[in-house]
């Protein structure tokens, strides 16, 4: 019986240097600098229209760069054709060939590259058993469920045994339960097979749960590159602070909080970020507000507070249901306040602006 070990490949590093893409009406990618380490699972995350697909398609070669260089495994591929970049891709629509059977879909690439029939069959069996597609090989894509089509698309990507795999929102057409299963499965597959993954999603949960490294994009620019923990615990910009976490991090003008509660070096016009789940009921705490509304979520309760004119959300554990109008006071842990410079939107760290962007040293 053949297994996963037969299809293991060595991932390659991907490097984007000052990559820009213009569609005539503004930049879809704006001076993107990025290193995707070999064998890593890197997620491009951001709201719709921020340039994730554009960036991914430039790596694939389906879109030309307007500026900058793209390197895959030390080879400059900026002007190299799609097929010569040695990568595979899973599309949001799956892009299965409707007239070919599952088996033919999966082996299409091998066939075009004139891989022998016996070798094709061998690899097909391996991939089919890894993805549980054995019983479906003779069907046409139209006779498969969404989840099964998704598996075929995955099979088509991994049978090629390419060092790099790109995926553009591959789970967005699945229902919630299946999406969760596939999340786990894709992550496991990537770790077992060892290829470098660049994965596009607008869903922060997908990014946080799957990634080794998250690249947060906004308006064609990189906001932050970090592992999921860092992204959550130390957002580099106000955008990152608001984008990650549900509900999003509170941003309060420093002037709304008592001076003694603020970290040292905070200026009066700075914005203070604090997560709803970091606020802990504490009668002597520095964050004081009047309850405006209460939202019961089952496992916990979300309260909207009026803190000196600013709206602040706090997450209360369990069954606490304060009545609107109640005055509540909250404390927080030592690292739970984040200071942002409103002029740049960047995080302020002891007077030093931390960018989180890997910069070229040129």
């Amino acid at each position: 019986m053949s297994g996963i070990a037969d299809v293991r490949v060595a991932g390659q590093e991907i490097r984007l240097e000052h990559v820009s893409k213009s569609y005539g009406t503004g930049l879809a990618a704006d001076d993107v600098n990025l290193i995707v380490p070999a064998g890593s699972f890197t997620v491009l995350l951001g709201p719709s229209g921020c340039g994730k697909s554009t960036t991914l398609r430039m790596i694939a070669g389906l879109e030309e760069t307007t500026d900058g260089r793209i390197l895959i495994g030390d080879r400059d591929v900026t002007r190299v054709g799609v097929a010569q970049r040695n990568l595979s891709m899973v599309f949001q629509s799956y892009a299965l060939f409707p007239h070919l059977s599952v088996a033919e879909n999966i082996t299409f690439g091998l066939k075009v590259r004139k891989v022998s029939r016996a070798e094709r069959q061998r690899r097909l069996q391996t991939v089919a058993s890894v993805l549980g597609l054995e019983a479906l090989l003779e069907r046409k894509p139209g006779q498969l469920s969404g989840g099964q089509q998704q598996r075929v698309a995955l099979g088509r990507a991994i049978i090629a045994e390419k060092p790099v795999c790109l995926m553009d929102e591959p789970l967005s057409n699945l229902d919630a339960k299946l999406r969760h299963e596939m999340r786990v499965e894709i992550r496991a597959l990537q770790q077992q097979l060892g290829f470098t993954m660049v994965y596009v999603t607008h869903d922060q949960v997908e990014a946080i749960t799957m990634a080794d490294q998250v690249v947060l994009l906004n308006g064609g620019r990189i906001e932050q590159v970090a592992d999921p923990r860092t992204l959550y615990a130390r957002p580099a910009t106000m955008f990152a602070a608001r984008f990650i976490g549900t509900p999003p991090m509170n941003l309060i003008p420093a002037s709304a909080l008592p001076v003694e509660a603020l970290p040292r070096g905070t200026r009066s016009d700075d914005m203070i970020g604090v997560r709803p789940e970091a606020l802990i009921l504490d009668a002597s705490g520095p964050v004081r507000g009047v309850v405006r509304s209460v939202e019961y979520l089952g496992s916990d309760t979300l309260v909207d507070l009026d803190v000196d004119g600013a709206l602040v959300q706090a997450r209360l554990p369990g069954q606490d249901m304060p009545a609107p109008g109640t005055l509540l006071a909250f404390g927080h842990g030592p690292d739970d306040l984040h200071v942002f410079d409103p002029a740049t939107g960047r995080r302020r760290e002891g007077g030093v602006v931390e960018t989180g962007l890997p910069r070229q040293s040129n």
Binding site: V82, A95, P98, F108, V112, R113
Partner: protein, 329 residues
């Protein structure tokens, strides 16, 4: 001037009468079965049963008069003599299947049937694929499509000039002969060249139908999801492989519809043959053969028999064509 006024007047009258009919009959139905009385529900149900027939009625009647009646009358005529008076049983059919002209027509129709739809669809597909990718593709498309706007007779007149032949010692005004002479050959009477002249006539219809095939197939090609093409590119397929293995198979349904549509047209081909050769020099086809017996032979029985043969050939293809077109939609 007066004619124009009469034409405009009758057009206005016709459209007005139609509008009045649809509006009036609908109104009448609502008055007979008001949706308000105690029986509102029953009335609405009854009115809805009748309403489709009010709207379909005129079309059904016209179809009956212009389609069903002629078919029945043709069958009746085919069983009668040249004036349609004395009953002759199956004599017309017996004559037909022994007739040389009919054999020649069938052979030529089969030739047309094989060559014209295949060539038109093939060239149309090539033109659609090539013009989709280039900047001046739309100009090229309009040029290829233009012959569609010319009547078959008009096209035949144009091609008569291309195939025209003059005596060897005067200057050739036919394009084809001019080229042949320029290359040092002897001028030919192309349309009188047995057997091959069939193909020279077919070229005219191919010239016209390629535009039609191109337009339909070009729309179908654009309907192919771009991502399937990109996936094939990623898999390393070259443009020819993508065209043959990814694009063409995805538009098979449309190709079949284009093919059969042209096939039906070819089975009825008439004007081109009439205008170019009138069926001489071995170019006879069924429709022209029928026309010959109808208006030159003045034999209604034989003409009707030929007409029925044409119908028997067209109908199955037509049914298949309509089914396929609906499957596509």
């Amino acid at each position: 001037m007066e004619q124009l006024l009469v034409a405009l007047g009758s057009m206005a009258l016709g459209v007005g009468a139609c509008a009045l009919y649809f509006w009036g009959s609908n109104r009448l139905l609502d008055l007979v079965f008001p949706a308000r009385s105690a029986h509102a529900a029953a009335n609405i149900r009854r009115a809805n049963l009748i309403r489709p027939w009010l709207f379909l009625g005129p079309a059904v009647i016209i179809l009956t008069v212009y389609l069903v009646y002629p078919v029945l009358n043709s069958i009746w005529l085919s069983l009668h003599g040249r004036t349609g008076e004395e009953f002759v049983g199956l004599d017309n059919y017996v004559w037909l299947f022994g007739d040389d002209g009919f054999r020649e027509s069938i052979r030529n129709n089969l030739l047309w049937l094989v060559v014209v739809p295949a060539a038109s669809t093939f060239f149309g597909l090539i033109a659609a694929a090539l013009t989709d990718r280039i900047a001046w593709g739309n100009i090229a498309k309009s040029l290829i499509f233009m012959p569609m706007a010319i009547s078959f007779i008009g096209a035949s007149v144009i091609w008569k000039f291309i195939y025209d032949v003059r005596a060897a010692d005067v200057e050739q005004i036919g394009l084809l002969n001019a080229i042949v002479v320029a290359l040092g050959g002897a001028p030919q009477a192309w349309i009188a060249l047995p057997f091959w002249n069939n193909f020279f006539l077919m070229v005219i219809l191919i010239w016209i139908q390629t535009g039609f095939a191109m337009v339909i197939l070009s729309a179908a090609l654009r309907g192919i999801p771009e991502e399937t093409v990109e996936a094939a590119v990623l898999d390393g397929a070259n443009p020819l492989q993508i065209f043959l293995k990814i694009k063409v198979p995805q538009i098979w349904g449309t190709i079949a519809v284009v093919w059969t549509t042209i096939t039906i047209l070819v089975l009825k081909v008439f004007d081109i043959v009439l205008a170019m050769t009138n069926g001489q020099w071995g170019t006879q086809v069924l429709a022209n053969f029928m026309f010959d017996w109808m208006f030159r032979g003045l034999d209604f029985g034989r003409a009707a028999t030929i007409a029925l043969v044409i119908m028997a050939l067209v109908v199955p293809i037509m049914i298949w064509n309509i089914r396929e077109a609906q499957k596509d939609a």
